[in-house]
């Protein structure tokens, strides 16, 4: 534990609190709270999306996975990036044109059914909770390692920080924390990548030949199949990654912070460039860690490889760079959890309380209060869960969130925008079938049941063989929506005409 780390951490804490203070002054209405009043530019929002997206799983997890498993670790980078094409081509602009604050709003542009809104809110909350536990567990482990303080204190520190941003500064504070974090993360990653490249004489060929002998795996390190030996499991994981992003509530919520679809487009394009550059650099981080830190040291610090990036920074740039990268990782987690709290709170306060219980008749003041109470509730609940989940694998929790997003949210979103016959019953069956099949299959998977003691939550043989059930649960979500629609009679062609015109022209988008 050294002074530089503490100083840098304090600078980040202070800077974010100053942002929150100024944002709090500008957070007057519910619209300000959820969407920063729709006043962000496309560029700003693009950076904020990158800041919201590049979580601990991306920075710490992927660097570690590539360091330990070579090519197989890079699969995550590819899946996480291509997901943006799905968002860009199919979801971003219609979503902005139809919605107001949440995914449920968008679906409700077609169906004024409380049940549908309730189901959408439920899947949002489920995804947020899985994602949040993952981030908090990661944060706890990181701070514990850096400062040698207890895990529970570490989780509490992060939890209290995120609660403060959201509670007082709403989306404005959250957005700026995310923008600053995205810039810091890119700077940190570029510096490390540059130093790694320098060590390899600025020669890509040289880098590949070096890592071929750097690990215990030898030449196999550069070939696929080191970590993922079950073909169907690999494909299932890749399916969850590529389709999940377009159903992640905290990412989709960001599209409501800009004025119109054109800006939503600029946002997603900016985010894609930033995220793409970052994921290319993960190769340098991973290879660098494999070559200059070494497997045994990475594993000793954390069995999942999560400390590979900070350790690499230490190996390359000594104490200061190590402290800087650790502080960046800390900022990374803060920005992501704040975004998560906000989308979880919007599901409770806006969808369930404001629209279902109060039928959209709550005054602005009531809505603000509800939003703040809900933020507090979501924060406290996730902190409690994270305290109990210390031993859970972070990457597994995140891929689970992606799987639920892809199975429960994406089919409904796509049907709502593009399918004329889609109806209320279909929306509900799609969401429930996707959500339940994902959850049930995971609870029977090797991540929950393992024959070896301590490898999973329970000891026993897994009933379902795949670690990620997306390849089953995503089609089930689509099939559920299809069957629910054609087996029930109700449809409203007039309403769809309106949705179609709005989604495609942006006319009277909220």
């Amino acid at each position: 534990m050294n002074l530089t780390v503490i100083v840098l951490f304090l600078i980040i804490v202070l800077a974010t609190l100053i942002i929150t203070y100024y944002a709090a002054k500008r957070t007057q209405t519910t619209g300000d709270f959820y969407t920063a009043g729709g006043g962000l530019t496309g560029w700003q929002n693009g950076l904020a999306i990158a800041g919201d997206y590049l979580s601990a799983a991306s920075f710490l997890g992927i660097a570690g996975a590539i360091a330990l498993y070579g090519f197989d670790g890079f699969f995550y980078s590819i899946g996480f990036l291509i997901a943006y094409l799905v968002v860009m081509f199919l979801v971003a602009e219609p979503l902005r044109n139809l919605g107001k604050y949440t995914i449920a709003d968008m679906i409700n542009a077609r169906f004024d059914a409380k049940k549908v809104r309730g189901a959408a809110a439920l899947s949002t909350i489920t995804i947020v909770i899985f994602y949040m536990i993952a981030q908090l567990v990661g944060a706890g482990a990181l701070i514990q390692l850096l400062f040698g303080i207890d895990y529970w204190i570490a989780v509490l520190i992060v939890g209290v920080m995120m609660t403060i941003y959201v509670l007082f500064g709403g989306m404005t504070a959250t957005s700026w924390v995310q923008i600053i974090k995205a810039v810091l993360l890119m700077i940190g990653t570029l510096i490390i990548a540059f130093l790694v490249f320098q060590r390899f004489d600025f020669n890509i060929m040289h880098m590949f030949s070096e890592v071929k002998t750097a690990t215990s795996h030898g030449a196999d390190y550069l070939n696929p199949g080191l970590q993922y030996t079950v073909p169907l499991d690999t494909i299932s994981l890749m399916l969850a990654l590529v389709l999940g992003t377009a159903g992640l509530p905290h990412i989709l919520m960001r599209f409501f912070t800009v004025k119109n679809a054109k800006m939503a487009r600029t946002s997603v394009v900016t985010a894609t460039w930033v995220v793409g550059i970052f994921y290319i650099l993960t190769v340098f981080l991973g290879f660098g860690a494999a070559a200059f830190v070494g497997e045994s040291q990475i594993l000793a610090a954390n069995p999942a490889g999560n400390m590979a990036a900070p350790l690499l920074a230490e190996a390359l740039g000594g104490d200061f760079l190590f402290s800087f990268v650790s502080a960046v990782a800390f900022a990374t987690i803060l920005a992501v959890v704040a975004g998560l709290v906000l989308s979880g709170a919007s599901a409770f306060a806006h969808d369930i309380y404001g629209q279902i219980i109060k039928k959209g008749k709550a005054s602005d003041r009531q809505q603000m209060l509800a939003a703040r109470y809900a933020s507090l509730g979501v924060s406290v609940f996730s902190i409690l869960l994270a305290l109990m989940a210390q031993t859970m694998n972070v990457a597994f929790l995140v891929s689970l969130a992606f799987c639920v997003a892809a199975s429960a949210n994406l089919p409904v979103i796509l049907y709502t925008i593009y399918w004329r016959r889609f109806n209320t019953t279909g929306a509900i069956t799609a969401m429930f079938l996707g959500l339940l099949s994902a959850l049930i299959l995971v609870s029977m998977s090797p991540n929950v049941f393992s024959p070896t003691e301590g490898a999973a939550i329970f000891v026993g043989d897994p009933i379902f063989p795949l670690t990620n059930p997306a390849i089953i649960s995503v089609p089930l979500g689509f099939i559920g929506g299809y069957l629910g629609t054609i087996l029930s009679k109700d449809q409203d062609i007039e309403r769809y005409a309106e949705v179609k015109v709005r989604a495609n022209t942006g006319y009277r988008g909220s």
Binding site: G31, I82, F89, L90, P231, T234, G360, Y507
Partner: protein, 115 residues
Amino acid sequence: MSIESDYKMEYEAEKKTDFVKVAKSSSFKQLIKARKKFIVPLTIFFFIFYFMLPVLTSYTTFMNAMAIGDISWAWIYAFAQFVMTWILCIVYVKKSASFDKQSNQIIEEQLKKEE
């Protein structure tokens, strides 16, 4: 502006705006057709391009052959995914500008007129 009045305005606008008529108009149909023609093939393309990588690496090993020095074809393909993403990004932005023109025209000519 408070939420309720926002919804109210929208509701009243809905009563006036004949969306069905707009949806049936030839200019709107053209826009939808142009969008489909652009989005559907490219979406199918990038999904296939993306899934080919895990499928090929899971079921075959031929991509482990070296392409350039110690860099195998699997890595070349992986980096090609990034290049593909950026190219599609640029193409999408360019194409969307023309859709913007069309939809603005529809708003000007049909939707605004009804107000």
